[in-house]
């Protein structure tokens, strides 16, 4: 079965300002905030009045290192794009959060009142992007209105296809499903609806024979 090289795997690109948009809504986590700062710089040069129609929701870098990392990327520099830099920009609104669920809750509330002409920018770890996109789907925002850049950990959300439980923060090629206990191969097949990659039993054909566990999504 194909594990890698799957065309449903999301592809990200460095964030660029979309000056055809009228309103701009930006979500950032950790190192993603550096990308947002860059985009805001581009917006300011291209259309200075755009910043007054831009809202930013972010989780700062020093709060986003996760304790569960076995070994991860080097700790994010707390000096990279601190909230204070954003506050100085004359944005329509800046909100700073300490956790993802609250940020996403506020994000959904903003989408309820947002207008056509809005562009969404998301930057940060892939799982953060996936959860934001899942909400954006409910509002019929499509790929022409959303830009996303992956920065920070590649740790994945993995959907166990056998018991339908999602395991968070998976950094390894094989992971044990925390609900049914099956050892799962983490594939590149991705569902935007579930915001997760597929995990399928790795040793069904030869029970007990598992490939070496490697940290690949760091």
């Amino acid at each position: 079965m194909l594990v890698t090289g799957i065309k449903s795997k999301p592809v990200y690109a460095p964030l660029r300002a979309d000056t055809r948009g009228h309103y701009h809504l930006m979500l950032g986590k950790g190192m993603g905030n550096v990308a947002l700062m860059r985009v805001l710089g581009e917006l300011e040069s291209a259309a200075p009045q755009a910043l007054a129609r831009t809202r930013v929701l972010l989780i700062p870098a020093e709060l986003s290192a996760t304790p569960a990392a076995v070994s991860g990327p080097p700790p994010e520099s707390p000096a990279a794009a601190p909230p204070g830099d954003f506050a100085a920009l004359g944005l329509e609104e800046l909100r700073v959060f300490t956790d993802v669920p609250t940020l996403l809750r506020d994000f959904r509330a903003l989408l309820e009142v947002a207008l056509m002409g809005t562009r969404l920018y998301v930057a940060g770890p892939e799982s953060f992007i996936g959860l934001a996109m899942k909400i954006a789907l409910e509002f019929d925002l499509n790929k022409d209105e959303i830009r996303a850049e992956e920065l920070g950990t590649l740790a994945r959300r993995v959907y166990c296809i056998h018991c339908r439980t999602t395991t968070e923060e998976v950094r390894t090629n094989i992971v044990r499903c925390m609900d049914c206990g099956n050892w799962l191969l983490v594939r590149d097949h991705y569902s935007r609806r579930l915001a997760a990659y597929m995990g399928v039993m790795v040793d069904a054909e030869a029970p007990g024979e598992r490939p070496e566990i490697k940290e690949v999504f760091l």
Partner: protein, 347 residues
């Protein structure tokens, strides 16, 4: 034509599924020549030869009752094998109409459909269903329209919405998949759900197929064949149940290959739907054991050659790695090197 049904055949546990000689002769071999590679290979789904699997829009064969019972077993354990997103209701009615009208027209000995304006009366004699309902009113049926009708048809069904220049898989009944999951894939676009297929993307197969399907017209359905192999006549080779059927792949020996290894062919039909402007994708599955296949000398030679030369990426993707060589060995004595006639039919 009325089929004689074998209602107690099983596709699990004791696997009593077998093909009669008639079923073997009409088997849709997917190999018109001695080698195989992907192609778009779409053709109009026009009424085909009498007695063939493409004589009618939806083929009902000797396995009909047993296969419907197998579907009920899967759904009882896993209801999420049937899903439909909320905006797909008009396409559900389109599919119900298409299947009911086709079955009643093509198999009048088994199915009947009477309409008085919106009041419809459907009788499915083999399954013992007698249902009056109001077309367009979901409350007048015991289940959602797509759920109701696909429990009475062989094969899997995926219903796609057409928008933004793409096709989106947003409803389906999938209990006989060749290793893919509706629960995981629902909501995906055409190229996303075909993501796991190797090579075809690079060949541009899906770009051309998508372009063609976006212009699919009412009254002009198309069909193609797809294939893989399965150990035991098991229809439910879903990723969900891989722990159950995965181990079978490692049990094949030269002695048992003839009876356990099955060629699994999908007759895929695609219809434009009238009220929803969606597209119905029907995946009708046919199974034949190597032993049954070898009773047709041309097929034994051909399948031997196709499998021997199959591209490694396809061997892997179709899950044949563990037993391909054993199957090739099993078929070898039937292949004397003689030329085979072109086309897939038996001589």
């Amino acid at each position: 034509m009325s089929a004689v049904f074998k209602p107690h055949e099983t596709y699990r546990n004791d696997f009593t599924f077998r093909n009669t000689p008639e079923a073997i002769r009409r088997f849709p071999l997917p190999f018109p020549e001695d080698k195989y590679m992907y192609s778009v290979n779409i053709e109009p789904h026009m009424p085909g030869a009498k007695g063939s699997v493409v004589e009618f829009a939806f083929d009902v064969d000797e396995h009909y009752v047993a296969e419907c019972r197998e579907r009920e077993i899967v759904l009882a354990a896993e209801p999420l094998r049937y899903q439909a997103l909320p905006h797909m209701m008009s396409s559900q009615w389109d599919v119900l109409e298409l299947i009911m009208e086709s079955l009643a027209r093509d198999y009048p000995a088994h199915f009947s459909l009477a309409k008085h304006r919106n009041r419809w009366h459907w009788i499915n004699e083999p399954l013992g269903i007698d249902q009056e309902f109001t077309f367009g009113d979901p409350a007048s049926l015991p289940r959602e329209p797509l759920d109701f009708i696909t429990r009475q048809a062989q094969g899997d069904f995926v219903v796609m919405d057409q928008r933004e220049g793409d096709l989106w898989a947003e409803a389906g009944m999938v209990t006989t998949p060749a290793d893919w999951s509706l629960d995981f894939d629902i909501g995906m676009t055409f190229k996303e759900w075909h993501g796991p297929v190797p090579l075809a993307h690079e060949l541009g197969v899906f770009d051309r197929a998508l372009k063609f399907l976006l212009n699919l017209r009412l009254g002009q359905p198309v069909r193609r064949l797809n294939w893989t192999m399965t150990v035991n006549p098991r229809l439910d080779t879903s990723p969900e149940n891989y722990p159950k059927w995965g181990p079978d792949r490692a049990t094949i020996t030269k002695e048992n290959a003839g009876d356990l290894v099955h060629l699994r062919v999908e007759l895929q039909g695609l219809w434009r739907l009238p009220r929803s402007n969606g597209v119905l994708f029907g995946i009708r599955c046919y199974l034949i054991s190597l032993r049954e296949l070898s009773t047709v000398p041309k097929w034994a030679r051909r399948v031997h050659r196709v499998l021997e030369e199959l591209h490694p990426a396809l061997v892997d993707y179709k899950g044949l790695s563990r037993y391909r060589d054993t199957v090739v060995d099993w078929l070898a004595p039937f292949d004397d090197g003689a030329p085979t006639t072109p086309g897939a039919g038996p001589d």
